[in-house]
């Protein structure tokens, strides 16, 4: 299919429906699709399951969705960065699934790669292994972890070409390429859209077959915090 290229975040975010599971890239605000998250806060869709390393910060990024009461569940590795997450969780208003960051990343990759589950040594013998199957492989104990998939992925890339191929920027890459592979509908927010052929075929990180829509980023992270692009 062809990639949809638009200036209208609000338009593409219509693909998110109540009850959906949404992957959102970013390590804190770094590599976070800020424009798409902003559009999601304005979209009338709730009961969402968010798969993201963190749920933003208190009242920032995905933290706004939490305050809006739109989240049913969060799957991630480090919710500590938003103190309100614990509050909602304790009041029984938010389900949490906490995974070690390596297991979280690998489960997303598995989801995109048609792998149903995998065995890792991480977390064996810890509280995060509770209720999970273990298996001996070649004399070592491994934990079974299931793949993660989503209805929609919101990712942040650096450049897209008009076909939808993506490249990333420094440590803003993080979870974005794997999330782009693991959702039915993938929206990428980028700094720049270039003609096809301008990205080197050897350096493309996310081939266009993964990407459904591309928007130009409006909210960007700078040294002075998040600003609106002129």
């Amino acid at each position: 299919m062809t990639v949809a290229i638009t200036e209208e975040a609000q338009h593409v975010i219509e693909n998110v429906q109540t009850g959906d599971t949404i992957m959102v890239g970013g390590f804190g605000l770094i590599g976070s699709p800020l424009t798409l998250i902003d559009a999601l806060t304005k979209r009338d869709a709730s009961e969402l399951t968010i798969i993201s390393n963190n749920v933003g910060e208190a009242g920032k990024g995905l933290g706004i969705l939490l305050q809006q009461g739109k989240l049913k569940k969060a799957v991630g590795s480090y919710f500590t960065s938003n103190r309100e997450v614990a509050q909602w969780y304790n009041e029984g208003k938010l389900e949490l699934e906490l995974l070690p960051q390596g297991t979280f990343s690998e489960a997303i990759r598995a989801g995109g790669a048609g792998i149903g589950g995998f065995y890792t040594k991480t977390a064996v013998g810890t509280d995060l292994a509770k209720g999970k199957e273990t298996k001996e492989i070649d004399g070592e104990t491994y934990l079974l972890e299931k793949a993660l998939k989503a209805d929609v992925a919101l990712v942040r890339a650096f450049k897209a070409d008009t076909k939808g191929n993506l490249v990333y920027y420094k440590t803003a890459r993080n979870f974005n390429p794997i999330m782009a592979s693991a959702a039915k509908y993938v929206i990428a927010e980028v700094d720049e859209i270039v003609e096809e052929g301008e990205l080197s075929p050897e350096e493309i990180v996310t081939p266009h077959l993964y990407v459904d829509a591309v928007i130009k980023s409006r909210l960007i992270l700078t040294k002075d915090g998040v600003i609106e692009r002129e």
């Binding site: 390590f27 804190g28 770094i30 590599g31 590795s77 480090y78 919710f79 500590t80 960065s81 997450v85 614990a86 969780y89 304790n90 949490l96 906490l98 995974l99 070690p100 960051q101 390596g102 297991t103 990343s105 690998e106 997303i108 990759r109 890792t120 040594k121 991480t122 977390a123 064996v124 013998g125 810890t126 509280d127 995060l128 990333y168 920027y169 420094k170 440590t171 803003a172 890459r173 993080n174 979870f175 974005n176 390429p177 794997i178 990180v205 992270l221 700078t222 040294k223």
Partner: protein, 211 residues
């Protein structure tokens, strides 16, 4: 001081991952041409950065601004943890809430508090070839952090190889920790008074301190 001592523990040309807190400071004592710092958010070749060169999209696992070494490379999170879990990182230097007589480390959760964050701690502890724990010898309330059995949830069933505190250095040998070094003016008695974990005292150290 702890960080400086931890730096001395590293072999040149090691691939090193530094945890948040004291471990991050170890970077200040490393010759950047001889060590390769890995950060799990997707960079091999972390360096320090001058204030004026800060790039908000270039950070370490503690979300602090860093620089990019010559010959550095970027990768996504799944590839980064593949390096960690696949035993391609030589050393991880991590903080701890507790370490016990069996070498087990607790550094991700406190009982009674909400368990809502783990990050890369479990992966690093299970995957790095060598684990160095850097920590103050006692917690803020004065209670020992080197205990007989962790009362906090453990991070892995894998043992820490070296513990470096502000009082002493312990190394795992055979079936338990050996106290190999006293830091500064610390005495064997000081260590004994502030440690509930079992440990042996290195033969040479014992002779030197008791002669």
């Amino acid at each position: 001081m702890i960080a400086k001592r931890a730096a001395e523990e590293l072999s040149p040309h090691s691939i090193v991952n530094l945890g948040i807190g004291i471990p991050t400071l170890v970077a200040n004592y490393l010759d950047k041409d001889n060590y390769y710092l890995h950060t799990e958010n997707g960079l091999l070749g972390v360096t320090s950065v001058e204030e004026e060169d800060i790039d908000p999209l270039l950070v370490n696992a503690g979300k602090l601004p860093v620089g990019e070494a010559v010959g550095a490379s970027y990768f996504h999170s799944a590839d980064s943890f593949a390096m960690i879990r696949g035993e391609h990182v030589d050393v991880a230097i991590l903080g701890a809430l507790q370490v016990d007589s069996n070498g087990l480390v607790a550094n991700w959760a406190i009982p009674g508090k909400n368990i809502i964050g783990v990050g890369g701690a479990m992966d690093l502890l299970v995957g790095a070839k060598k684990i160095i724990i850097t920590t103050n010898h006692v917690s803020k309330d004065g209670s020992p952090k080197l205990v007989d059995k962790c009362s906090y949830p453990i991070t892995s069933n894998r043992k820490a190889d070296v513990i470096i505190t502000d009082m002493a250095v312990f190394k795992w040998k055979d079936d338990g920790y050996e106290l190999t070094e006293l830091i500064g003016d610390t005495t064997l008695n000081d260590v004994e008074g502030h440690t509930t974990a079992a440990y042996r005292i290195n033969e040479q150290l014992l002779q030197k301190e008791t002669k």
